[in-house]
Amino acid sequence: MGMEIPFDVANIPGPEMGEVAPPEVIGNYISSAKRPLLVVGSEILRDDFFLETAIEIGKKGIPIAATGHSIRGFVEKGYTENVSYYNLHELTNCLRDPSWKGLDGKGNYDFVIFFGIVYYYASQMLSCIKNFAIDPLIRAVSIDRYYHPQARMSFTNISPKMEEGYKDMLNRLVSSVK
C-alpha cells in the first residue's frame, strides 16, 4: 500500500502519522470518548451544510469551541447552546494542560475533533496535542476534507469534485456518533 499523501504534501512529521479512516470508524472512535470537544474553524462558513453538521454534533451533547471567526455562523443560526468563541492557539495551549477547567469548568477533555480549520494551522495545533497532551492523553481526529497526519485519524484528501461525497461522509459520521 502506498503512503497517504498529506494535503500539504511535505507535511510529514515523522514516524508517528495518523491513519486514514472511513466515517463510521471515526464516528465510533468519537463515541468512545468520555469528554469530547468539537473544535471548528472558519472554513465551516463556506457552506451552510458544514455549519449544520457542526450544530448536529453539538446537539449530540458535544460542546463546541468556535475558533477563527466561525462563531459568526452559530450566532446567525441562533445556535449558541454549547458553543463558545476561542482562539485556536489559546485553546490548544489550554488543552495541553491537564489541570485546565474546560469550557464548562468541569475539566479538560479526552478527545478533540477538528473541523473546518485552515489546514496548516490545524496541523500545527494537532502536532502540539499529539506531542504534549500525552498524560493524560488527548486523542485528536480531523473530519476535514484533508489527510492530517498529525491527527490520530482523519479522512483522506477529498477533491472539490467529490464535495457531495464528502458531505455524505459527514452525514455518515454524524449518524455513527452515539
Binding site: I5, P6, F7, D8, V9, P13, G14, P15, E16, G41, S42, T67, G68, H69, I71, R72, V75, E76, S84, Y85, Y86, N87, L88, H89, E90, T92, N93, C94, R96, D97, W100, K101, I117, V118, Y119, Y120, Y121, Q124, M125, S127, C128, K130, N131, F132, I134, N157, S159, P160, K161
Partner: protein, 796 residues
C-alpha cells in the same frame, strides 16, 4: 600624548605609536545621562526579566517536525516529548529551533548593518553626524537603552556591532549539541537574540538615514514625506526598467545617483521589490515600488525588468534561472548571495556591460556598490532595445490551450502553501469564466511549487497572471515614503493619551507577504484601526501591500489618513530595519513622556512598556527568520504581536492564561502591594486564523493595567465593537477588563451592566449605576503597575 579633548578632530593615520586614553570620553558620556544597571547585557543579564515574561506567557510549542537530525546520533524521534540521544527533550529542542531561527534573523540584520557601515565609512568617512533635526533629540533609543551609548557619528556604531556580534556568537554556541537543555533558557536566549535584532535594525537604519539624508525631522520629513507610486501598473514598461530586489540600499542608491547625474531620471524606470524598494524611495525621488515580496516571482516572470539588481535577503534562490528565463541580465551586489556568478568588481564597466548585453554571461557580481549604477544603467538602456517585442504574457491561444489541458488532478493544490484550488479555476476558465483564476493572483504567495508538480507542464503562474492581467495593469497605489524616526515632539503630544488609553493603541503592521488570504487583509487592518483613531505604524511588505487597495473615493489608506504619530495616523516608518523606530517610539514614551531613565536600563523600560504602552504588532504574512527575531525582539520589550495562521509554523507562541489567577499578579510600585490584574496584554505572540478574528484580537492586546477609566472605556468600545462587527458576538472575556462602571462604554453602560449582572453574576447598584462586586480588581487611578520589585518606592 595629550589627553583627547571634546570636539577635537584627528585622524588615526596622522598618529604613530599612540595610546588612547578613553577617560575623557567616558566623562563626556556621563554628561547626557548616568549609566543604568545593564549596559551591553550578556546572555544572563536580563534572564530575570525574561523569566518574568516566560512565567506569564509560557512558551507553547507546536512542532513542525517530530525529529531532530542535527548530529550523527540522530535522527532522533522526539514525538510525545521524548528525549533524543543527547538528552534533549522535544520542548527544549523546539526552543533550540526557535533560537536558531532568531539567530538567522538577527544575523541578517546585523550582517546587513555591518556591511552598510563598511560601505558608508568607505564612501563618506566615519564622521557622518547622526543628526535627525530639531524634533529628534533622542536619536537612537535602542542604542542608548541596550548599549548605554549615545551615537554621535556613524563610527560609533563600530562598537555597537562589536557588541552584537560577540553576543550572536555566544548565543550560537548555546545551540551546539550538549549545551543548553532547558526550553525556558532557550527562550531567554531567543529573547536576547530578539533584542539584539532590534538593536541591529536601529543601527542599520540610523546609518543609512545619516549617510543618505533620508527623511528625518528636517523640512519635508516626518508627517510631510511625499507619496510614492506603488504597484505593477505604475511602471512604465515602454522605458528601460531596472528592478532592484532585497534589503540593502547602496547599490540601488548608486543607480539613482547615476540616473540623476546623467539626466536619465525620466528615461529609465528604477523600480523595486521588498525593502530595497522602500529604501530606494527614501533616497531617489523617481523610484517606484513594483511590489512586495509576495509578487517577486511573478513580477520577474512578467518580464517587466530589463535588468535585475539584487542585494540581500528575501531574494529568490533561483533568481539566476528566473532571469535567464526572461532574458534579463542579473547583477548581484552582495557577497552573501552570489549565485555562482563571477566576481567582476574590478573590471572595466563597459566590458561588463558588453558581456551582459551580448548574453555571454547571464549575470555578474559587483561588490562595490559605487560601480553598480553605471553598469546597471548602461546595460538596461541596451537591453531595453534588445528585449523590445519580447512578450512574456501568454497569448489568448496559449491561455486557452493550457486551461483546457488541465486534468484537475489536484497535484498543484497539494503543493500549494495556501492549498489553492487551481484545477477548479482552470476548469472554470476553460468553460469561459475567468474570474476564479484571476482571483488566485492575489491569493497566491508566488512560491512556484505548483508548477513543479504539474504533470501536464502547465506554466501555472503565467496562466494565473494572464487571467489577472487586466487588473494587474490597473494596480496603481500610493504610499508615503518611509519616514524613519518618530519625533520626540510627537511623543510629547501623545505620550499621555497612549498611557492613559485615550488613544486606544499603536498598531504596527510589519513584515512579509505570506498571507493566508491575499493582500487585502493588510489594507483592511490599517483602515479599520485608523478609522478608530489608533496610530498605525507600518514597515516592510505590509506597508507596500496596504497601499495596493483603495476606498470608495479611490484613495489609499495613506491618502485618506494623515502621517503624524497621532490618533488616526497612518505612517510608513520604512523598511524592515526601520521598524526599530516602532520600538523606539514605545521606548520614548517611557523615557521622554514618563521621564524613566533610558541609558542601559532595559528591564525598567520594558516593564514600563508591557504595563502601559498599548501597542500591538501584526505580522500577518510573517515568513522569514527575520520575522521570528523581529517579533521576539518586540516581545522582550513588552510589545505583543499577532501573526497570521502561517505564523503557527514558527512552532512557538507566547500565550497567557487568564484562568490562572496567580499568573496575573503584579506590583503597585507606589507601596509594594501585590495586585491581581486583568490579562493585559493576554498574549505576547498568538496566531489568528482569519483577519476577522485578528482585528478584535489586536484590539484586545492593547489593554494595559495602567489604562484610566476613560481610556479603558474607549478600548473596550473598540474591542466589543470589533467583535460584534466581525464575529457577530460579544467577546466571552470582555468582563475581565471591567474594573468599575466608568470603564464601560458610555453609550452602552446600562446594557453592559445588565449583562454583567445576568451573565457574570456581578452585583450592581442600579441606583448609583455602579458595580458593587465582581471585577478582578477595582479601578485605582494612582495604580503604578510594575513587575519589578526594585521599583517599589515605599514598602508597605
Amino acid at each position: 600624548m595629550e589627553a583627547l579633548k571634546k570636539g577635537r578632530i584627528f585622524t588615526i593615520s596622522d598618529l604613530q605609536n599612540v595610546r588612547i586614553s578613553i577617560g575623557e570620553i567616558v566623562e563626556e558620556e556621563r554628561e547626557w545621562e548616568p549609566m543604568g544597571p545593564t549596559p551591553m547585557p550578556s546572555i544572563s543579564t536580563l534572564r530575570g526579566w525574561d523569566f518574568t515574561l516566560l512565567n506569564r506567557y509560557k512558551p507553547f510549542y507546536a512542532p513542525f517536525c517530530d525529529m531532530c537530525c542535527l548530529c550523527t546520533y540522530g535522527k532522533c524521534d522526539l514525538s510525545g516529548n521524548k528525549k533524543g540521544a543527547c538528552g534533549i527533550r522535544m520542548d527544549a529542542q523546539h526552543g533550540r529551533i526557535v533560537l536558531l531561527a532568531c539567530l538567522v534573523g538577527c544575523s541578517a540584520h546585523c550582517g546587513h548593518g555591518r556591511h552598510l557601515l563598511h560601505d558608508m565609512i568607505k564612501k563618506f568617512g566615519g564622521d557622518v553626524p547622526i543628526d535627525f533635526g530639531p524634533e529628534v533629540d533622542v536619536e537612537a533609543p535602542l542604542t542608548r537603552l541596550v548599549c548605554g551609548i549615545k551615537p554621535k557619528t556613524i563610527r560609533d556604531y563600530e562598537k555597537v556591532f562589536d557588541y552584537i556580534e560577540e553576543q550572536i556568537v555566544q548565543l550560537a554556541d548555546a545551540l551546539h549539541t550538549g549545551q543548553e537543555g532547558s526550553y525556558m533558557d532557550f527562550e531567554s536566549k531567543a529573547l536576547h537574540m530578539g533584542m539584539l535584532d532590534s538593536l541591529s535594525k536601529e543601527a542599520a537604519d540610523i546609518i543609512q538615514i545619516a549617510c543618505y539624508g533620508m527623511p528625518t525631522s528636517y523640512e519635508g520629513g516626518g508627517p510631510d514625506v511625499p507619496l510614492v507610486d506603488v504597484g505593477i501598473g505604475t511602471i512604465d514598461m515602454t522605458k528601460p526598467v531596472v528592478l532592484v530586489i532585497g534589503h540593502n540600499v547602496p547599490p540601488a542608491a548608486d543607480i539613482g545617483d547615476y540616473l540623476t547625474e546623467n539626466g536619465l531620471e525620466d528615461k529609465v524606470e528604477l523600480a523595486g521589490i521588498c525593502c530595497t524598494s522602500i529604501d530606494t524611495a527614501r533616497v531617489y525621488k523617481k523610484a517606484k515600488i513594483a511590489a512586495a515580496l509576495g509578487r517577486q516571482l511573478r513580477v520577474i516572470r512578467m518580464g517587466i525588468a530589463d535588468v535585475i539588481v539584487v542585494d540581500e535577503q528575501c531574494i529568490r534562490a533561483d533568481i539566476l534561472e528566473l532571469c535567464q528565463r526572461v532574458h534579463s541580465p542579473l547583477i548581484v551586489t552582495n557577497d552573501k548571495a552570489m549565485h555562482g556568478l563571477v566576481d567582476r568588481t574590478d573590471d572595466d564597466a563597459d566590458k561588463i556591460v558588453d558581456d551582459l548585453v551580448s548574453g555571454r554571461v547571464p549575470g555578474v557580481v559587483i561588490l562595490d556598490p559605487e560601480q553598480v549604477g553605471e553598469v546597471a544603467v548602461k546595460t538596461v538602456i541596451q537591453m531595453d532595445k534588445k528585449r523590445k517585442g519580447l512578450n512574456l504574457i501568454l497569448s489568448d491561444e496559449e491561455f486557452t490551450y493550457y486551461v483546457n489541458d488541465c486534468i484537475q488532478c489536484g497535484n498543484c493544490t497539494l503543493a500549494c502553501p495556501n492549498g489553492l484550488r487551481i484545477g477548479e479555476a482552470n476548469q472554470s476558465a476553460a468553460s469561459g469564466t475567468i474570474e476564479p483564476l484571476a482571483n488566485l493572483f492575489d491569493l497566491c504567495v508566488g512560491c512556484g511549487r505548483c508548477e513543479q508538480v504539474c504533470k501536464k507542464h502547465i506554466p501555472i503562474i503565467d496562466v494565473i497572471t494572464k487571467a489577472a492581467y487586466p487588473q494587474i495593469k490597473e494596480e496603481k497605489g500610493r504610499m508615503r515614503i518611509g519616514r524613519g524616526p518618530v519625533w520626540d515632539s510627537e511623543i510629547r503630544d501623545v505620550g499621555a493619551p497612549i498611557v492613559l488609553g485615550t488613544i486606544p493603541g499603536i498598531i504596527a503592521p510589519i513584515g512579509c507577504g505570506n498571507y493566508p488570504n491575499g493582500t487585502k487583509d493588510a489594507w483592511l487592518i490599517v483602515k479599520e484601526f485608523a478609522e478608530r483613531n489608533y496610530i498605525i505604524t507600518l514597515t516592510g511588505c505590509m506597508a507596500i501591500d496596504a497601499a495596493l487597495w483603495k476606498d470608495e473615493e479611490g484613495k489609499t489608506v495613506y491618502e485618506q489618513h494623515h502621517g503624524r504619530f497621532d490618533a488616526g495616523g497612518v505612517l510608513n516608518i520604512g523598511s524592515c530595519v526601520s521598524n526599530a523606530h516602532i520600538h523606539d517610539a514605545a521606548i520614548k514614551v517611557a523615557s521622554i513622556f514618563a521621564g524613566r531613565p533610558l541609558r542601559g536600563n532595559y528591564e525598567e523600560i520594558a516593564d514600563y512598556i508591557l504595563s502601559r504602552v498599548g501597542a500591538c504588532g501584526v505580522a500577518w504574512g510573517a515568513m522569514s527568520q527575520k520575522a521570528a527575531s523581529i517579533a521576539t525582539g518586540f516581545n522582550r520589550l513588552g510589545v505583543p504581536a499577532v501573526v497570521g495562521p502561517h505564523g503557527a509554523k514558527y512552532r512557538r507562541a507566547f500565550l497567557g492564561r487568564p484562568d490562572l489567577k496567580e499568573d496575573w499578579k503584579i506590583i503597585d510600585a507606589t507601596d509594594g502591594s501585590e495586585v491581581y490584574v486583568e490579562p493585559g496584554p493576554q498574549d505576547l505572540l498568538v496566531a489568528c486564523e482569519t483577519v476577522e478574528e485578528a482585528l478584535p484580537m489586536m484590539a484586545k492586546l492593547c489593554f494595559r493595567p495602567s489604562d484610566t477609566d476613560r481610556g479603558r472605556s474607549i478600548k473596550l468600545t473598540h474591542y466589543i465593537d470589533l467583535n460584534l462587527k466581525y464575529l457577530n458576538a460579544y467577546p466571552p472575556d470582555w468582563h475581565l477588563f471591567v474594573r468599575t462602571a466608568t470603564d464601560l462604554p458610555i453609550a452602552k453602560k446600562a446594557e453592559l451592566l445588565k449583562k454583567l449582572e445576568d451573565e457574570q453574576g456581578w452585583e450592581i447598584d442600579w441606583k448609583m449605576k455602579k458595580i458593587k462586586e465582581g471585577p478582578i480588581r477595582g479601578y485605582d487611578p494612582s495604580f503604578n503597575p510594575t513587575n519589578l520589585k526594585r521599583l517599589i518606592r515605599e514598602k508597605k
